[in-house]
């Protein structure tokens, strides 16, 4: 059994103007020691998916169905107090923007140790050693003096390391990284990603990368789930996805990336916009932008999951 299994998750936002189906019938799983990349454009629901797992979806968003099985326990059935025991301790998240993710009025040491005190009641010298060890592990130089400093005294790259230290502080089994490197420069990005991979190997962590950057998935992940307009439209191993993408959207995304390794004469471009998630159209949501559509595609239903191989799933009428 996988460590985390999300089944038919639905998170909707009830607004006065209608229902926004931010996450609609989403299923995926991830195991210990494995990384999954959830890829999609802004507004496709990938961030809401991660918040749903932690049950921290902002109002007026609510869970309207599905299961989130973590080690066999359905997180959606837990009380708020029980859920708090999972956050930080078993499941953690690395937030996107290191500049806003740290509380400006508390010291770094204070913020790194908070979760440890909360979940493990460590105190005194043991706590201090643990915090310093964590910061060393994430490559923060001169950790002894830096624990007493405030976030504004850290550079962006260093802050992101602190955010990473906070995430792994209680040795969680699953870490969700929501665009962990978008605000970092390329060389710093590589250092950070390598660091994450090392930690993953040491601790046998399950990692979920939420990103719009296919390069991060290619570098870091074993499996990929492509989200579009609140739904997962293709799920595969990374190798399958790059060599044998099936959904026209996945294909187009891969074809639209400029490459550093080879000269490309003309990039494939996708015209149009993703549909509004507020009262979206019937049927396939990619239809309006699809260049491979045929007669079947105008069906009023969203295409069902088609299992192409054990590890490869696609939701497109052309494969039904």
């Amino acid at each position: 059994m996988a460590l985390l299994e999300v089944k038919n998750l639905k998170t909707h936002f009830i607004l006065r103007r209608g229902i926004v189906k931010a996450v609609d019938d989403v299923s995926f799983s991830v195991d210990r020691g494995e990384s999954l990349g959830i890829v999609g454009e802004s507004g496709c629901g990938k961030t809401i998916t991660s918040l749903s797992i932690l049950r921290l979806v902002p109002k007026p968003g609510i869970n309207v169905g599905g299961q989130i099985l973590f080690d066999g326990v359905d997180l959606l059935t837990l009380s708020e107090k029980e859920m708090r025991g999972y956050r930080g301790k078993h499941i953690s998240e690395i937030l996107q923007d290191p500049l806003t993710a740290l509380n400006p009025v508390f010291t770094i040491g204070n913020q790194v140790s908070e979760g440890i005190i909360l979940h493990e009641h460590t105190k005194g010298q043991a706590l201090r050693d643990r915090v310093l060890h964590l910061m060393h592990g994430l490559g923060v130089p001169a950790a002894e003096t830096r624990v007493g400093q405030y976030p504004h005294q850290f550079s962006g790259g260093m802050r992101q390391r602190v955010v990473g230290a906070i995430a792994i502080a209680c040795r969680p089994e699953l870490i969700i990284a929501d665009e962990p490197t978008t605000s970092l420069d390329v060389t710093i990005q590589m250092q950070y990603l390598n660091l994450l991979r090392d930690i993953q190997r040491q601790e046998n962590l399950a990692l979920i990368f939420i990103t719009h950057d296919l390069g991060i998935v290619a570098k870091m992940c074993h499996r990929i789930a492509v989200m579009y307009a609140g739904k997962i439209i293709e799920r595969a191993t990374v190798k399958e996805a790059w060599d044998n993408a099936m959904h026209p959207y996945t294909k187009a995304l891969l074809g639209s990336l400029p490459k550093i390794e080879e000269r490309v004469d003309r990039l494939y471009s996708i015209e149009g916009q993703p549909p509004s998630l507020l009262n979206p159209p019937q049927g396939c949501l990619f239809l309006a932008r699809c260049t491979a559509k045929d007669g079947k595609c105008t069906s009023p239903e969203f295409p069902p999951e088609v299992q192409v191989s054990d590890t490869h799933m696609v939701r497109c009428w052309r494969y039904v």
């Binding site: 930080g88 937030l95 993710a101 509380n103 979940h119 504004h152």
Partner: protein, 306 residues
């Protein structure tokens, strides 16, 4: 931090200097300031004598020098009505005002913080709705009127509390509350809105991800940040309350400096009003300075930027 203190200090000195220049110019813009210093029934001889006496026929820069130096020595002239040095009157009345406004500030802060934070954290609940109603009414109602109405209800009709003048502790309740009412409401509203913003922020999200419970998120992570804009407001609030004493002390016949200024207005006692205005301004400017320094302490981004 040292530079920060120095910068704020010089800003305060600048403010007071500007005030003195303004008062000096104002008194001369409409004619000879001697007319403001003499009682209405003074004769022409008195006037000429006074001009000579005070050197008001000399060039303006010399006059300003005398004016400023006089103030530095605490010489603000004599009250027309009381015939005593105005500073003497000011100092004798000051403790009464400080007691009253100190109580009002305490009242305002201690009610605004819990109510504002709770309202912001529980958006849309009845607590939030009622605190917002209280806020809009508090901001809209003129304090002198609130004072009068409270007096009418609690002193005249119900006879629970004394109507006016100083006395035991129960004499403080009505004036302190009337004085605090508006700033309490505004402060609460400010704290509510910053709490609302902060609760949506990334670092609050991170605290929740760590598994921190809601009360701790609210009273530790959120409050410390919400206090930063509130501290600036407290500075302004002290100024509003301190200068608001002129109205409230008038309503409740409270023998403080505000009431003194009111008497100055009624009896056209210009030196008295001028003294109270300048002395109160100096007081408020330095109160603000202290608040700013405390602000620097709360916000490490200011404290540690050298």
């Amino acid at each position: 931090m040292g530079r920060f203190v120095f910068q704020r200090l010089s800003q305060s000195v600048l403010a007071i200097l500007l005030l003195i220049v303004l008062v000096f110019i104002l008194a001369r813009i409409t004619g000879n300031p001697v007319d403001l210093l003499l009682p209405a029934d003074a004769t022409e001889q008195d006037r000429v004598y006074m001009i000579k006496q005070l050197g008001l026929d000399r060039p303006y820069h010399e006059q300003f020098f005398d004016f400023a130096v006089g103030m530095l020595h605490g010489d603000f002239g004599k009250s027309i009505r009381f015939g005593r040095p105005t500073t003497e009157l000011f100092w004798s009345r000051l403790p009464n005002t400080l007691r009253l406004s100190g109580l009002a500030i305490l009242l305002s802060i201690s009610v605004a913080i819990p109510l504002g934070v709770l309202a912001g954290a529980n958006r849309g609940t009845p607590l939030d709705t009622w605190s917002r109603v209280f806020a809009v009414v508090g901001i809209a109602a003129p304090s002198f009127w609130v004072g009068l109405m409270l007096m009418d209800i609690f002193a005249v009709r119900l006879e629970w509390l004394p109507a006016a003048r100083m006395g035991g502790l129960n004499h403080y309740i009505l004036p302190a509350f009337s004085l605090a009412f508006a700033t309490l409401a505004a402060g609460m509203r400010l704290l509510r809105s910053s709490t609302v913003d902060l609760m949506d922020s990334e670092f609050i999200k991170l605290a929740r991800i760590k598994g921190v419970s809601t009360p701790v998120v609210l009273w530790k992570h959120c409050l410390r940040n919400a206090l930063i804009p509130y501290m600036t407001f407290v500075g302004m609030q002290m100024a509003i309350i301190f200068s608001g004493t002129i109205v409230i002390e008038t309503v409740f016949a409270w023998p403080g400096v505000g009431r003194l200024a009111y008497e100055g207005i009624v009896f056209r006692d210009y030196p008295l009003v001028q003294t109270v205005a300048i002395m109160q301004s100096i007081f408020i400017v330095f109160l603000n300075l202290i608040v700013d320094l405390m602000y620097g302490y709360v916000d490490p981004r200011i404290r540690l930027n050298s």
